[in-house]
Symmetry: C2
């Protein structure tokens, strides 16, 4: 058997220094998980995941899609849990339970109730997530039977099955387990995620579950999640589409006995590892983005923060920039088009553009450059676009994005025909 | 020879009652035009167009891209013409003269100067437009020679060559000549346009030229253009991208001697014909949208106007809705996803959705419907999506959009490789 590829693979993510990857996986102390096939997926693949912390003092933090068309499990989890004290997570794939009305809310409540009974925790401590087809009633009997089956298989090394059970169009399983050496002792951090990028309301959504056995207070957990999500999942674009179902849950069991206090070196070490893990997972989502060949990174500097953010969004979401990235086409005209569209009324636009360090546009006009070197550079796995806006502003932001290719069209146009 | 297809072909455009299409073309009285090959396009195809009104009292109105990265000809035309008194239009295809800095502005000025001399009008009466590759200097010598050659070929029936000379990736020539019966006599309205939809900064842009021999005052011309552009070109989306070069020029020579006065039946007849012609041309642009199979129309009703506009934009620009349209996929989950994304924080969203008159979603949840009928309906050439937002609002808006298919990816990813 070949060794699995190391999790940290992007040159844009700094491997956290005090972290050791546990290639074989395994959850932090206090957590158990399982993944089973309950029959939603016709293929018979794993489609129901259950994860629970056995530590009563577990604290948590959560983030959800901001869509106006939220799925039933997101609505239920927001309204009927204590987001700071989530003990268990129950997830199904193959059906999003979205646009399903009151029946959908009832089904999500049944899922929550069954998981609470199966795990021996309060209903208010169970987060529910679903991903898959929109507008089709959830087969609740299958789900309930699956929850009971999963409860019998909960194991400390169940994270691999759990990570498989939440997959939809994902080409690869996405998970990591890290061992962190803190001053007070060793703690574990585990992450399982799925998503080919918020890009198909039938068969995709972003779901991310993060566990640690470090002891954190709820405010600290919430702060860590906020910072890390802003720097990772809020910076990726596959196609600029917003799922009905995105859910991220971070749980800290405290079972290691090692407390991470605010504003200590341990907090920085822990935060850096969590940040790196979520950024790498976000890049994997962009890379996995339905048929993507390449991942782009756009860094925008200068001007005011609002303009910089608009430009980064416009470039990362531009189907023209994305098709050029897919084709390995050194066509920087697409980049300046996107910049101009993001900053209406500012012409003439004194902007600098560099691709993989090669300056192609200076003060808004074509800059002489080595075309052969550029043509090579844009065929790399990861392509960096740097944009400098006019003015004295010190704004800086970045976004990561997948390309747009034939496979995206095929997956999203043809799969029901 | 087969008869050319009638211009008015969309069921969404009402054929103007008092208008007769002149299938063989021809410009309104007072106008002459020509199209020549000046050597910008390697294929030897027509790539330089010249159009002039010989009537000194010609009035005009113009609209331009709002991009921050405007092309040199747009900047020049905005800064160095009188937009109410444009006599001539000079256009080249194959090179956008965009992101070309001061050299680009000089080249556009030379183009304007050469056209002014060739047509015997003031430089301030000459609009300049360029469409094609971004970031490459314009071959000004070729352009100048082309302008002189075109000046020798100006003809009242030169509109067909002119319409061909402004094409880039357009699969079809886009033009129409209408004869309008007004109370005061007969007038002509001609339109030439190009665009596979603001969608490729290398090889596309929207250019539209409209002429009439009716007598209008400048304010009336501006008002007519405003209303018609809002209902046509500002309502289409191929890929949500904004060109550096979009230009629309409307000229009225007055050579028919028939005056169109504000708030008269003649104004309504004229306005309806111009509106229908520009809407049909806009639909042709969306239809021509690089490989598009189908055109969608989204109509949003209810709620406040701002929300309705956001929803219409989100649906029309969604790559998921567009790929579903391409695939003839009755996947309304993509539509509700786009609606939800446009209205963050409003969940649960009580929205109704109908596709081709078949209600698929009622009050935010799946509605029972005839799936076979829906599957047939979404395979039509034109597909209508109707969305009703919650609340008592009386807002209503619409947008037209092309699909997103393999041909779009091929054209935009592979053409330089």
């Amino acid at each position: 058997m070949t060794e699995p590829a190391p999790f940290f693979s992007s040159r844009w993510v700094q491997r956290p220094e005090q972290a050791t990857e546990v290639a074989s996986g395994g959850l932090p102390a206090g957590f158990r998980a399982a993944g089973v096939a309950c029959g939603i997926k016709a293929s018979g693949a794993l489609d129901l995941g259950l994860l629970v912390s056995d530590a009563p003092g577990t604290v948590s933090a959560a983030r959800f899609s901001r869509s106006g068309a939220l799925s039933a499990p997101v609505l239920l989890t927001q309204q009927r849990t204590d987001p700071q004290a989530l003990r268990a997570v129950v997830v199904n794939s193959g059906n999003a339970n979205a646009a399903t009305g009151n029946r959908g809310l009832d089904d999500a409540a049944k899922m929550q109730g069954a998981a609470a009974i199966a795990c021996g925790v309060s209903e208010r401590a169970v987060a529910v997530a679903s991903t898959g087809v929109i507008g089709v009633p959830l087969p609740t009997d299958k789900v309930t039977r699956g929850i009971l089956a999963a409860a019998g298989q909960l194991r400390a090394d169940g994270d691999l099955d759990f990570a498989d059970a939440i997959r939809t169009t994902d080409a690869h399983r996405k998970r990591v387990t890290l061992e962190l050496a803190l001053a007070g002792g060793s703690v574990r951090l585990a992450v399982q995620g799925k998503g080919a990028g918020m890009i198909s309301p039938k068969f995709a959504t972003l779901l991310v579950f993060v566990q640690t056995d470090a002891a954190l207070d709820a405010a600290e957990a919430d702060l860590l999640l906020s910072v890390c999500v802003k720097r990772s999942f809020e910076r990726i674009s596959v196609d600029g589409q917003l799922s009905t179902s995105d859910t991220i849950v971070f749980q800290a069991s405290g079972a290691s006995g090692v407390r991470v206090e605010p504003e200590t070196p341990d907090e920085r070490t822990f935060g850096e590892a969590m940040d790196a893990a979520l950024r790498q997972l976000a890049l994997m989502v962009a890379r996995d983005g339905e048929g993507a060949r390449r991942v782009g990174r756009v860094v925008v500097r200068g001007g005011d923060q609002r303009s910089a953010e608009r430009v980064a969004h416009a470039v990362a979401d531009s189907p023209l920039v994305k098709t050029a990235l897919y084709g390995g086409d050194p066509n920087w005209g697409r980049v300046i088009q996107a910049v101009g569209a993001a900053l209406p009324g500012t012409a003439p636009l004194v902007v600098d553009i560099a691709i993989e360090g090669i300056q192609v546009c200076a003060r808004g006009a074509a800059a002489p450059h080595d075309a052969a070197a550029l043509a090579q550079a844009v065929k790399r796995d990861e392509v960096l676009y740097e944009i400098t806006l006019p003015g004295d502003g010190s704004a800086e932001t970045e976004r990561y994005f997948s390309d747009l290719g034939h496979e995206y069209v095929t997956i999203n146009a043809d799969y029901t025909t």
